[in-house]
Symmetry: C2
C-alpha cells in the first residue's frame, strides 16, 4: 500500500552499481540503459498532438518582463535550436506510454495527482513558469514568477519555492539530456530574495555526465543580471524509463 518504500540510490558507496546496492529495484537493467538520444527524448516529451492542457503558456498574470522574455525565447525556438517544453498537470501525463523501472505505491487512480509546481490552479497565485531547452548545447532557461501563495518572508518568495523551481527545472533537463530521473543531491546558496510577482530567470547547464550521474548547475538572477538570487548545483541518477508492455 502507500507505506511501501522505494530505496533509491545515494550515499551508499561511490560508483557502486544501483542494482547491487538496491536489490529492491527488480526491473532495472543497467546494461540496456541510456540508449535514447536527446533528440528522441525531446520529441517524445514535446507531443505535437495532445488534448492535455499546457500550463507553460502566457496568461494575464504574467508581468511584462516575463512576457517579453518569453516572446524572445519563442522567437529563438524558430531557428536557434531552442525548444519550449510543454508543462502538464502531472508527470503521469509526461511519461504516458512509459513506466518507471521500480514499484510505484498502490493508490487510488481517483486522486487529483499534480506535479508539485503545478499544485495551485489559480493563475498568478502560485507558480508561473516556462522552461526552454537547447538540446545540443544542453542548456536551459526557466522563467519563474512566484505568486502570493509562495510567500516566505513577507513580500518575498519562500526559499522552498525557489528550491522547488530549481529542482523541477533540473529534473526535466536531466531527463532530456541523459535520462536522469532521481535527484541525489541539491545544493543552493541563496544570495537575494525574489520579490513576489517579479521575474526570476534560471539558467541551467549540464556540467557532465559520468558514472550514471548527471551533474547540473544553475544560476538564478533578475532579467538584467544585476541581481543574483541563487547559485545551485545538483546530481541526478540515470534510470531509463521502460516501454509499457501493452505497446
Amino acid at each position: 500500500m502507500m507505506r511501501r518504500v522505494l530505496q533509491v540510490a545515494a550515499g551508499l558507496g561511490r560508483h557502486r552499481a544501483l542494482a547491487v546496492a538496491h536489490p529492491i529495484l527488480p526491473r532495472l537493467h543497467p546494461a540496456s540503459a541510456f540508449g535514447s538520444s536527446t533528440d528522441t527524448l525531446v520529441s517524445r516529451f514535446c507531443l505535437e498532438k495532445t488534448d492535455l492542457k499546457d500550463y507553460a503558456l502566457p496568461n494575464a498574470s504574467w508581468c511584462p518582463d516575463m512576457l517579453s522574455m518569453y516572446q524572445e525565447l519563442l522567437e529563438k525556438s524558430k531557428d536557434s535550436g531552442w525548444v519550449k517544453l510543454p508543462s502538464f498537470k502531472s508527470n503521469r501525463d509526461h511519461i504516458k506510454g512509459l513506466k518507471l523501472p521500480f514499484e510505484v505505491p498502490a493508490s487510488s487512480d481517483k486522486s487529483d495527482w499534480r506535479i508539485f509546481p503545478r499544485c495551485i490552479s489559480e493563475e498568478g497565485q502560485g507558480y508561473e513558469y516556462v522552461i526552454f531547452f537547447h538540446p545540443s548545447m544542453k542548456k536551459s532557461v526557466c522563467l519563474f514568477q512566484p505568486g502570493p501563495f509562495l510567500e516566505g518572508v513577507p513580500g518575498f518568495a519562500h526559499g522552498g519555492s525557489l528550491a522547488t523551481m530549481i529542482d523541477e527545472t533540473f529534473s526535466k533537463i536531466a531527463y532530456l539530456a541523459g535520462e536522469g530521473l532521481l535527484t541525489l543531491s541539491l545544493n543552493i546558496k541563496f544570495k537575494s530574495l525574489i520579490p513576489v510577482g517579479s521575474l526570476a530567470v534560471l539558467n541551467v547547464d549540464v556540467e557532465k555526465i559520468e558514472d550514471q550521474k548527471i551533474h547540473l548547475s544553475c544560476i538564478t538572477q533578475s532579467r538584467d543580471q544585476k541581481t543574483v538570487y541563487a547559485k545551485s548545483s545538483a546530481v541526478f541518477f540515470q534510470l531509463q524509463l521502460e516501454e509499457e508492455s501493452s505497446q
Copy 2:
C-alpha cells in the same frame, strides 16, 4: 514597487559585516541584535489567545502514523519541555507587532498572502505538517505527510516539496533558537523517495551559532527509522525583527 530587490547576505566574503556588504539595509542595527532569549521568542510565537486558524492540528486526512506520533509528542509537551508550534496561513500573522529590518516590496494588501507550505487549503491534498520544538535542547521534530498535489515521480513526493518542508522547519527553528531569519545555504542529499500519503519525520538540530550564522542539520526518515529519506543542512543569517513603532 514589486521590482525592488533586497540584497541579502551570502558568499560575499566570510565574516564581513552585513551592514558593510549591504548598505541597502538601512535599518539594520547589528550592535543591538540577538538580544531576545529563546523563551521570549517562543512565548511570543505561541500566542495563547488568537483568532487565527492553527493549521497544525489533526484532520481526517492524517494517516494513523501521523496521528499517533502527534499524540505522543503532545503528551511530551505537557512535562518534557516540548512545545507544539502553531502554524498560521501567513508569516505576516506570525510576526504581528514586529517588522522586518529591511524594506518590503510595495504590494496590495488585498492579496491572499500564504506561507508557501500552507498554499493548498484542501485537507490532505497538499502539505500536512506540524512542528514541535524543544527550546532548551534546541531540537525540533516535524511530522510531514505529502498529499497528491505534491507529487514528483508518480506516487512519490516531489524533491522540492521535501526541500520546502526542510527549509520551513529550519526557518522556524533558526528564528526561535537565535533570531535566524534568512536562509543562506541549503544542502540536501536525497536517499529514498517518500510515498504520497505516508508520514516522514524530520529531526532537526541546531548545530552551532557563531558569526551571526546559525547552522542546522536535519535527518528525514520513516517513523520506524528504518528508511532514511534525506539528510540535510543549512545556514541561516541572524537578523532581529524590530518592534512596530506604533507599539
